[in-house]
């Protein structure tokens, strides 16, 4: 009977034990930041205050810098390019900007982290490119639409005579990217336009694609009118516009999958409960 009771007590004791994880400490944590007769505010207190804010981006930058180096990705050219961009944006205020990062070197480290995150993200997208091409069906095209057949005929008449698609659209009041844009199956194009794109593997100018536009006025009266799309497919081979497609993918594929992949691959092991809770809330592969 005594042994049974002892075992019961042991189980209850073990169950009741605290499951709080470990937290890292800074060296010389007792150093006073603020001294007071009622007790100092120390370096450890300040560090713990930092750890209670959302420092996930700082952590991610640091982790990704190391992973990018391990993967052999050279980010220095991108770092310099980004720093130059900030210099021209901020002009005389650039020095003030870098002050909050501890100077130019600190600012470059910050940029190196950001650039590393983007690089890993892009490389992950490239690694899984076939999957994304199948899912997103990217193509490069110029697309215009008109609300009357008169405008359609005028546009096509001019373009079919040899005039430039983009210039003709601009002359008729359109703001259009002259080189064309990368579209995907997820973009908000009318169903009929997507049907046209998916039904063919050709490039070139389409016939007018008729869609129906439904509008409701202030009185609640619904009206349906035709809208005519003209698509000039420039390229269907993603290899010819991979960078633009990756840029487009960033709107749809968040970087959590990419980060999780690299954390798992490089066996990221965290030794602070707060950091673990923060990272594991968004990313897998954190140990």
């Amino acid at each position: 009977m005594k042994k049974v009771l002892l075992v019961l007590l042991a189980v209850l004791f073990l169950f009741g034990c605290s499951n709080a994880g470990g937290t890292a400490k800074v060296t010389d944590g007792e150093t006073a930041i603020i001294t007071s007769p009622d007790g100092n505010y120390t370096k450890q207190d300040l560090f713990d205050a930092f750890m209670n804010t959302d420092m996930s981006y700082t952590l991610l930058q640091h982790i990704c810098k190391q992973i990018a180096a391990k993967e052999g990705f050279d980010v220095e050219a991108s770092v310099e390019e980004t720093v130059e961009m900030y210099k021209s944006m901020y002009g005389e205020s650039f020095d003030l900007l870098t002050e909050s990062y501890g100077g130019l070197d600190g600012f470059k480290e910050y940029i190196r982290g950001s650039v590393s995150i983007t690089r890993l993200y892009d490389e992950y997208l490239k690694m899984n490119m076939e999957k994304y091409v199948e899912e997103y069906k990217p193509f490069k095209a110029q697309i215009v639409y008109f609300d009357t057949m008169e405008d359609v005929d005028k546009f096509l008449g001019t373009v079919n005579s040899g005039a430039d698609f983009a210039q003709t659209a601009t002359d008729m009041g359109y703001l259009l990217d002259a080189t064309g844009q990368v579209y995907t199956d997820k973009d908000s194009l009318p169903y009929e336009v997507k049907e046209y794109i998916n039904s063919s593997s050709e490039t070139g100018l389409s016939e007018p694609i008729v869609t129906v536009l439904s509008t409701t006025d202030a009185n609640g009266t619904a009206t349906e009118t035709n809208r005519y799309y003209i698509v000039n497919v420039l390229d269907r081979d993603y290899n010819n516009f991979e960078d633009e497609f990756i840029n487009s993918l960033r709107s749809y594929v968040d970087n959590a999958a990419a980060m999780s992949y690299y954390f798992e691959k490089h066996n990221l092991t965290v030794h602070d409960q707060r950091v673990y809770d923060l990272l594991s809330a968004t990313y897998e592969g954190v140990k």
């Binding site: 019961l8 169950f15 470990g22 209670n52």
Partner: protein, 337 residues
Amino acid sequence: MDQKELIKKYWFVGLVAVFALIFLGIYAGSEIKNRPTTVKTAQEDGKYLIYRLGDDTYTADELYEDLYPANALSNVFVRYDYMVVNKAYETTTEMNDIASSNAQYLISAYGEDTIDSELKAMGFKGSEDLVNYYIYLQKSNQFLKDIFTNDQSELVDSFIAENNPKIISHILVKVANVETVTNSDGTTTLVAHPTEEEQAKLDEVVSKLGTEDFAELAKQYSEDSSASNGGSLGYYDATVAAGYVPEFSAAADPLTEGQVTEPVLSQYGYHIIRCDASTKEALLANDSFIAQLQSKYPTVYQKAVLAKGAELGIEIADADIAQQIQDVIATAEEGGN
């Protein structure tokens, strides 16, 4: 009694103990399975690690250095302010009661998790510190009032002379049909066409002015969002006046403390406007006036906190941060604040 007899006598107790053990084991196992992952600390060369990535590590010291530039100044000053103000003022029962009441309301409105993370981001311990935070706010507000009342009296006199500030309240009785009539000289006049109900309401309010409390009348009769606050519109001066309709500000501008207007017609209906404070003493007792002073002279509070801290023996020992605070104050003062 031998073992067999013992078992024979206590077999039921033994059976219950076994089932209890089994149940506890299942329950404990389930809890352990669902328990969030706990992390063990690790050190290398005497330094705590944040993470390890293959052969590479990131220490707590490195993370501290990375977070310090952008976060140290604000964290330390908030904590310093908290320590100074808490030591400078005793916590009264009234402060505690107000803080507890506010804390309860905030948690029920926003949830404990939200409050917890917001307070931690400000350098507090979390939701457990919410009452202490509200006590600190009250003490900080009192400190601010005392600074402007006692130490910065001339600054306040100059502000009052320059801005002619007042604190105002109003009661709005809405009139749906207000017509704008164009006069022969091109000017316009507002003409009200109140319903019987609207007129009766206005008459009732006017009859009670002077005998009943203005704030209570506003709560009962006023038809705008200030009603629940006793009709208080807070701080008013020439700059603020621009945000009101011209009829309102024309009536409010000349008011002095205690004066109440006749009903003033605007496109919204009839306003009865009261000047709650225009003398220095009454203005200094009002939080929205104090807030205006704080906004106009932000370095006054910062310098006063540092002076009070020195007096109480509370010092910022980190020379870097102490210098940054002085630089911030100097920059703000150069900017004319």
